[in-house]
């Protein structure tokens, strides 16, 4: 272990770390509202509705296949469909597709966890179902989603490393490039692992705190 080399590696890995964070946060910012909306729809839809089936198929596919296969599918199929998407957005699409599959379930559980009395009270006050959902249920559900969603962010940071395979120059790809240029693996992997660990562990600590806070006000347990 050569501390000077490690410091150099650290400096060179900071911009790719920025990309890792940017792509994870972008994906989260799209996937969370999507998950809440579709999850709420799924909780409300009557069983057998075609859109509910479609959502179930999405969740089933995302949970039943490795993220690498989902990334390949997007990487190969988008150009085949004639869409010329830049690599960064391909990565975002892949992460959103994957993460929303999990967050639909989080959103659904959050909506269903809101007490029935809230629905009844709103109905008694003359609100119809969509208005109740929008004005009373969703804001509470969104609050309860916070803990699991923070967890999802650390999952996304981990998942974004897989985007290295479609040559997106994020943290893991950058580390691989330094390894093959210098033929030194231990220092590079230790620095890379340290960078991932600080963020992922930090975020999961915050998620745990938020969940405990929510639990005291009737929140959700962790999803994964």
């Amino acid at each position: 272990m050569d501390p000077v080399f490690m410091a150099q590696v650290m400096v060179r890995l900071l911009p790719p770390l920025g990309l890792t964070m940017l792509i994870s946060v972008t994906a989260l910012a799209i996937a969370t509202p999507l998950g809440l909306a579709l999850g709420a729809f799924r909780a409300e839809a009557r069983p057998g509705h075609w859109a509910a089936r479609l959502i179930d198929a999405w969740v089933f596919f995302v949970r039943g296949t490795p993220i690498l296969v989902q990334i390949f599918a997007i990487y190969f199929l988008l150009p085949k469909a004639g869409l010329d998407v830049p690599l960064f957005w391909m990565g975002v699409i892949a992460l959103v597709f994957n993460s929303a599959g999990y967050q639909i379930e989080i959103g659904r559980a959050a909506v269903q966890s809101v007490h029935k009395g809230q629905w009844e009270a709103a109905t008694a006050l003359g609100f119809d179902r969509p208005a109740t959902l929008r004005q009373f249920i969703l804001p509470q559900a969104a609050r309860r989603m916070m803990g699991p969603v923070m967890n999802e962010l650390s999952q996304l940071i981990k998942a974004s490393s897989v985007l290295s395979i479609i040559t997106l120059f994020e943290l893991h790809k950058a580390a691989e490039a330094i390894i093959s240029a210098n033929l030194r693996f231990s220092e590079v992997l230790v620095v890379e692992g340290f960078l991932y660990f600080v963020f992922i562990y930090g975020i999961s600590l915050i998620a745990g705190l938020m969940e405990r806070q929510m639990a005291s006000s009737g929140g959700l347990a962790s999803s994964r």
């Binding site: 490795p66 690498l68 296969v69 085949k80 940071i157 897989v162 692992g193």
Partner: protein
Amino acid sequence: MSFDWGTFAEYGPRMLRAAGVTVQVSVLSLGLACLFAPPLATARLIGPRPLRWLVQAFVEVVRGVPPLVVIAFVYFALPRVGLVLSGFWTGVAALTVVGTVYAVEILRAAIESLGRGQLEAALALGFPRWRAYLELLLPQALRRILPPLTNELANVIKASALLSVISVHEITQVGNALIFETFVVVEILVQMTLLYLVIVGSVTVLSRRLERSLAA
């Protein structure tokens, strides 16, 4: 351009063999993880303090980095310490590391879910702590972890796709190679997906069955 079912007959056998590798790698890894997890969880819960910290640090670090980093580390580090393994066994080693820390967490959660009452009752009856742990808590916890452990098998199967980067000939690696060999994209992606859905799906069904039969 239409969907060519003939590719299923043509590449099916290779994909099925790859599916066999995926299952073998995953089952072997989780099996080994199940051997390592009980002693580690024991050390984590009732070991001497430095050992407890060491195990916890190991668990947190492996959970806090992407599995790809663990795979890369094992891939580079094993030959460095004189262990030159085939791609397959390197893959097993890497997934065992990942599987072990999750199994330790599952076991720890199961033991802690048993509640303090049992431990206190045993201590009150004069059992030493380690005997209460080994003879009372651990056997009960081992029964409880079966459903989450099958769930973890599904996760290990999905993580095994990452072994394609160290050229283990599992579903993703073989499928990807076939795509570049033949330029048949859609049909091969569908085959990969179906294989994973069948394997992961049956593991999930098994997990739910176990959960119900243990709850009864």
